[in-house]
């Protein structure tokens, strides 16, 4: 890294803007973060219930395929033919007996082993592979796989700690709160391309400070307020974090004079959108960010995985997989689908976020030499019992700096 990549001396209370646009930084992130020692979310088991079912997805920007084999193992392989690099799988989801690259029909089993090469012995004794060409040496590259309660993670690194240790006890408890071993049911997908650096998405979900200010909708309907009982939690490394809030008794207070956006007497004409039922113990909303590519959303009864796929320094795809449980009754499914209106590319709430992330990128991109201020709630990072803090973002960058050696 050149001299222009010097982190401000204030530490993580300053975020230099070059991290959002510099191609060298982006390349290093791909290598050290997404292809490094990290468990990346790739799929829900409910998306591939039967042997042969596959899902095409990405880790960072690298295409991979997740597939269930005949022994019920889940394999994750690079979506790149071992021959000439063709991205052989082109469908989001499907079912196959084997994978065949269309270019020269090299064929792989569901574990990624190469099982067929046309004209391997030549045609009419002409051509063919060298006699010592061994299929065993030319399979698809396999990634490490970890599964827990129906959720699949993969890693390019080979000697990674188990998933449970990787999460740490506090994040594992929050994970198990939603993924308690019950069978999941996929409700549908949503995909959006946001013209912003991927880290801005994580910052957004690690920042409870903005929610009661930017999201007029949430505030107006009493879904979220700065004086609501809440807390932020992190793992020991700072890489994972969670914003947690629950319902309490709030009155209109003087603190709310700060929220210019508060609209009084604002009522929905159709209130069915906002009729959640208590489903999980204690907390109403838990937004968990798991390094390096996953946000788990539990906003009342709407549950979703938001998977981050990087598309260069200045864009990311957010792939949403909404789900419920196989034993949900019709009312619960309807509730989840209605509350899904809050989130996604057309979400009453998340529209604000995707728009603001774009505004961020168009501010930080042209000013790489400047830095942002991150001092709400202090300059260090620790768990807090309130939401007036940027602690979780500082924690993320403390870990980021270590991994990136910045």
């Amino acid at each position: 890294m050149g001299t222009r990549h010097v982190w401000p001396r204030e530490g993580v209370s300053r975020i230099p803007y070059w991290i959002y646009s510099d191609p060298e930084i982006y390349a290093r992130e791909q290598e050290r973060i997404f292809c490094g020692p990290s468990w990346n979310y790739v799929a829900l088991e409910a998306e591939l219930p039967r042997p042969g079912d596959f899902k095409r997805t990405f880790i960072g920007e690298k295409p991979v395929v997740v597939v269930r084999d005949e022994e019920d193992s889940i394999n994750v392989v690079e979506n790149r033919c071992a021959h000439r690099g063709v991205q052989f799988c082109q469908k989001h989801l499907g079912s196959v007996a084997e994978f065949m690259c269309p270019y020269h029909q090299w064929t792989y089993d569901l574990k990624g082993n190469l099982i067929g090469v046309p004209f391997r012995r030549g045609v009419k004794k002409q051509g063919g592979m060298p006699a010592d060409f061994d299929l065993k040496n030319h399979g698809l590259r396999r990634l490490g796989v970890a599964r827990r309660h129906g959720v699949i993670f993969a890693s390019f690194a080979s000697d990674l700690e188990p998933l449970e240790e990787y999460f740490g006890p506090s994040m594992l408890a929050l994970f198990d709160r939603v993924f308690d071993g019950r069978e999941l049911r996929v409700l549908g997908y949503s995909r959006q391309l946001t013209p912003a650096n991927w880290k801005l998405m994580f910052e957004n979900i690690k920042d409870p400070y903005h929610a009661s200010l930017l999201h007029v909708f949430l505030v107006s309907f009493g879904l979220f307020r700065a004086d609501q009982p809440s807390k932020v939690q992190m793992d020991a490394t700072g890489r994972h974090g969670a914003l947690i809030s629950w319902r309490g008794d709030q009155k209109k207070t003087e603190d709310h004079a700060d929220m210019k956006s508060l609209i009084d007497n604002f009522k929905l004409q159709d209130s069915t959108l906002l009729e959640p039922v208590r489903e999980f113990p204690e907390y109403t909303v838990v937004m968990t960010t798991l390094w390096p590519n996953l946000i788990i959303q539990q906003q009342s009864n709407t549950l979703a995985m938001r998977q981050l796929v990087t598309r260069g320094p200045a864009a990311f795809e957010l792939a949403w997989t909404y789900f419920g449980y196989a034993d949900d009754d019709e009312d619960m499914t309807r509730r989840r689908l209605r509350q899904a209106n809050l989130m996604g590319p057309a979400g009453f709430v998340s529209i604000d976020d995707s728009e603001v992330m774009k505004f961020s990128q168009s501010g930080v991109g042209p000013y790489p030499e400047r830095a942002g201020v991150m001092e709400m709630g202090g300059r260090d990072w620790k768990d807090e019992q309130h939401m007036v803090t940027e602690s979780v973002i500082r924690a993320f960058y403390a870990y980021y700096r270590r991994v990136m050696e910045l």
Binding site: H92, L93, V186, L187, G188, Y189, S190, R191, Q192, L193, T194, P195, L214, H215, V216, F217, S220, S261, I263, F266, L268, Q269, D270, T272, L273, E317, Y322, T333, L337, R338, A340, N341, G344, P345, A346, F348, I351, D352, S354, E355, V356, K358, F359
Partner: protein
Amino acid sequence: MSAAKRYLTLNSRDLRLELEELYAAYTACLDEERFEEWPEFFVEHCLYKIVPRENFERGLPLATWLCESKGYLADRVTAIRKTAVYAPRYVRRMVSGVRVLGWNDGMLEVRANYVALETLQDELTRVFNTGQYRDKLVVEDGRLKFKEKLCIFDSLLVPNSLIYPL
């Protein structure tokens, strides 16, 4: 003759003209951002959904945008006007290939292609969303209104945010 009956007895050419008028009025209302008038194209108990084609084809129930009543539509308008934060934009909708499938259970089933073009400041106009309308219309107050309007979109990767109706 009642209005409903009048529609039922229209020959196909006249019905097509009626539909052309309707879709022109609908898109003009949205293109000109007269969003407050938008719910008036629907009956009280209506269904309006914008659905990624992949969900529709797999039978997955999730919609990107779901309104289950006229009140719901009005709530979306309130959000557009009062709560949502977004960059200024123009959206222009083109409807073509309007096809009448026929009357079923007192509802006129219509399919059409649509394209929505989006223009943001500092950016060239782009195809923002394209897909198929799958509509069910009924006669109310002497005119055709949407009982159900599904926008099944091909453009799965939504360019950032979907703010205005389609």
